[in-house]
Amino acid sequence: MATIRIPKKNLSVNPLKSSAPMGAALAYLGIDGAVPLFHGSQGCTSFALTLAVRHFKEDMPLQTTAIDEVSTVLGGADHLEEALINLTKRMKPRFVGIATTALVETRGEDFVGDLQGILARREELAETKIVLASTPDFAGALEDGWSKAVTAMIEGLVIPGDRRDSPLRQINVLPGVHLTSADIEELRELIAAFGFTAVVLPDVSGSLDGHVNDTYSGPTSGGTKLGDIAEMGRALHTIAIGHHMRAPAEALQGLTGVPTTLFASLTGLAPTDSLITLLSHLSGQPVPASVKRRRSQLLDVMLDGHFHFGDRRIAIAADPDLLHGLSMFFGGLGSEVVVAVASTGNSPALADIPSDEVIVGDLADFEAAAEAQGAELLVTHAHGRQAAERLGLPHYRAGFPIFDRLGAQHRCTILYRGTRDLIIDIANLFIAARPEKRPADFADVLAPLPASLKGEMSHAPTATC
């Protein structure tokens, strides 16, 4: 049980968090034929877009309502309407996900009412599914924005009512924002191994996995199909990953009655064992040999890798669910999480983190604490690189954004295979950082001398012949 400390401070230095609209945009980008629309000033979109492009190395169809000074004063509904008309005409998306920003939320308008009015008024929007999530930048962070957008999509796109009398062999998956394209692919394959089809909402493995299309596409290509979202009520079960997916999971279960299991994390042996037990139970099928093989490989890497993890002092900074998952991972291999910094303080994941204290703070808090605690490895997103350089420590990149390495989306860190690879990657960092022994490493092998003996014991060799 960790105590959660929120340092009182006036200045955030080297921020850890990305704000909520970014999370919402990423969620919307997991839908096929989507364009996320930021309701705010041009810059809100532009900065988010640039950062997302640096992370994914992909073009992003992010759009803006381009709120200007006048509409900030008089109200932004016109801009919202105009933006929707223009972008549907120009880009022909099947889906538009609106994320509000701090600017318009500060002014405070009835966005839902405005949107209803627009949709009733404008027939040209009839072919486009449009949802809106309220995601002011000043509340929460990446996980919150993602969660709110997924909730908005469930509430706006799933056919409500209990439809389990005509079930499909389908499992709904509500992944957290910390899952990569590779994670989702791995999860989908596992679910398929038990004879189920997975409907993943949102599914960035289809849209943000860096594929090359044959034709140009403005909106996202790949991702969850709108038709599949509508039919989520006919699934046997819903699996949600990460505490921040509790709200969308509750919404889905409330709408459709499909039972839900929430996994705090799917990184590690035990959580994967649990998920597989669940799938085996739901399908009535034994665990396939291929899955057992993966488990056996993980066990072997745990054995080979644990030497490098034992008693290591680890500093992690991340969004709460990722922080929790990584902390459990390191703790399970014998490392000590000496610094845990979370981007936000309201997640139930934080209390379970195996560390004395969780600081809700920024990367400056992280750097100072890592230095004070004598951390041996920094785990955080790419902005941690300056701290790593200053402290001379290895840096494992995890979270969002990772803009200075390729393949962030293709790194799998969940289930047996992902855990296996995570152990290998981090053990290799430790091995690479292991210095050759120097005489100075043994400077303190002698017992400290009592003051009375000092001088007397130091007989330097003297020439005698």
């Binding site: 009655g257 929430l262 042996l269 037990t277 054995l303 034992g310 291999l333 014998g334 017992a447 014991m457």
Partner: protein, 476 residues
């Protein structure tokens, strides 16, 4: 095999300093101490391997391996022998003999040119040239090439005549020692000498262990004149004949060096160990006594006792915090030689139980010491992997301490394992090293990974309950 090499091997086998050998009759002595190898069931390194292990830690020389690629290619940079300065020893040099070299008999020429290039590029104080099986078979005379190159280039070129087929790793150690005796030791005088000068023979500074020990000697004013061969410098080793006492570590690997140095220069030697608290103390005590016998001021003995008392107390106080955690844990010790007893005492002292200790490669004296320190001594010779796996699998021990070869026997049996042989990354020498060992033991035993790994997959459990609570639906 050349006659010279045959004679050298016969000489090495006839080692009067070795008590195993001394106990043999004339006929058995003649046969030598190499156990015949069983094809298909052999393990362990060859003579070349042994020679390289013994000499490679000399940091500033070029180690040039004359042979086809495999001998060096598969073995270079494989030990954590540390250097406080020069790094030349970590660079791999080989003549990489090709088929044509072998067919045409170009080996010697190639070797000569290789020596020339190495000296031109790296300007080492010496070049050690290692013979291997193939050039030995085709008759390359590395002694002649080295002699010629030494004259021509003015850099000592030392032939190390220990081709793999000559015998075991242990024999290779001794042949390496012969090379030092024939070509290096005694070729130079130290700048000055003191009555406190010692050599350490058979210490390879693995993971920096020499640096855990050296400060202890230095605190007594004792100078390590040279170390064979950990963190070694060519010029230092050349002056080794001026030491007052030789400390022989690692059991009998280089006993021929110690004995012949006694013969030639009257330097007494004793066998010692830096592993374990009481062993370290005994080493310091004996060193002091022998130095005093050879003319050092008598107060050295008192000072040594004071140091021992202080360091032992310090070590035990550092070990004590682990006692509760480690008490009653069962250790399987699978090593050999000195280590079969030297760390037993420390492990017993913190309340660990020794399931057994292996006495492979141990002398009769080693075995006697095991008997002396263990209440109920369980000694084993070699244990086949399959058997060891079964022992570990059924839970005979909580942890295995061994060299790398048994690592996977333990890990595949899902039992903790700690490396105490040459590939290890932790320094276990002296008082400080025992504290490190105990800390590493605790770290390994208490890693939560064992609980995780040994938990059966849930679907393998009979009548596994469905463990999932569904989450509450949100009431809209």
């Amino acid at each position: 095999m050349s006659d010279a090499l045959k004679a050298k091997i016969a000489d090495v086998f006839n080692e009067p300093g070795c008590d195993k050998n001394a106990a043999k009759d004339a006929k058995a002595k003649k046969k030598g101490c190499s156990k015949p190898l069983t094809p298909g069931a052999a393990a362990g390194g060859c003579a070349f391997d042994g020679a390289k292990i013994a000499l490679q830690p000399i940091t500033d020389v070029v180690h040039l391996i004359h042979g086809p690629l495999a001998c060096e290619g598969n073995s270079w940079d494989n030990r954590n022998s540390a250097s406080s300065g020069q790094k030349t020893y970590r660079i791999s040099f080989t003549t990489d003999l090709s088929e044509l070299d072998i067919v045409m008999g170009n080996g010697e020429k190639r070797l000569y040119r290789a020596i020339k290039d190495a000296i031109a590029r790296y300007a080492p104080p010496a070049v050690f040239v290692y013979q291997t099986c193939v050039p030995a078979t085709i008759g390359d005379d590395i002694d002649a090439v080295c002699r010629h190159a030494t004259e021509k280039f003015g850099t000592p070129c030392i032939p190390v005549n220990a081709p793999g087929f000559a015998g075991s790793k242990n024999l290779g150690n001794k042949l390496a020692g012969e090379a030092l005796l024939d070509h290096v030791i005694g070729t130079r005088e130290p700048e000055f000498t003191t009555p406190y000068d010692i050599n350490i023979i058979g210490e390879y500074n693995l993971s920096g262990e020499l640096w855990q020990i050296k400060p202890l000697f230095e605190a007594l004013g004792i100078r390590v004149l040279s170390c064979l061969s950990g963190d070694g410098r060519y010029q230092e080793i050349a002056t080794a004949h001026r030491a007052r006492v030789n400390l022989m570590v690692c059991s009998t690997a280089l006993i021929n060096v110690a004995r012949k140095m006694e013969e030639r220069w009257g330097i007494p030697y004793f066998e010692c160990s830096f592993y374990g608290i009481s062993d370290m103390s005994e080493t310091l005590r004996t060193t002091a006594r022998l130095l005093v016998e050879r003319g050092a001021p008598a107060d050295l003995i008192e000072r040594a006792e004071a140091l021992i008392a202080r360091e032992e107390a310090h070590a035990w106080s550092r070990i004590a915090p682990w006692r509760d955690e480690l008490k009653g844990k069962r250790v399987m010790l699978y090593t050999g030689g000195v280590k079969s007893w030297s760390i037993v005492a420390a492990l017993q002292e913190i309340g660990m139980e020794i399931v057994y200790t292996s006495v492979r490669k141990s002398t009769e004296e080693d075995k006697e010491r095991v008997k002396a320190i263990m209440e109920d001594p369980h000694m084993v010779e070699s244990v086949p992997p399959r058997e060891m796996y079964a022992q570990l699998k059924r839970g005979d021990a909580d942890i295995l301490l061994s060299g790398g070869k048994s690592q996977f026997v333990a890990l595949k049996a899902k039992v903790p394992w700690l490396d105490i042989n040459q590939e290890r990354h932790h320094a276990f020498g002296g008082y400080d090293g025992m504290v490190t060992l105990v800390r590493e033991l605790a770290k390994s035993l208490h890693n939560p990974v064992w609980r995780d790994i040994n938990r059966p997959a849930p679907w393998d459990l009979p009548n596994a309950a469905f463990p999932f609570a569904e989450i509450e639906a949100r009431r809209a």
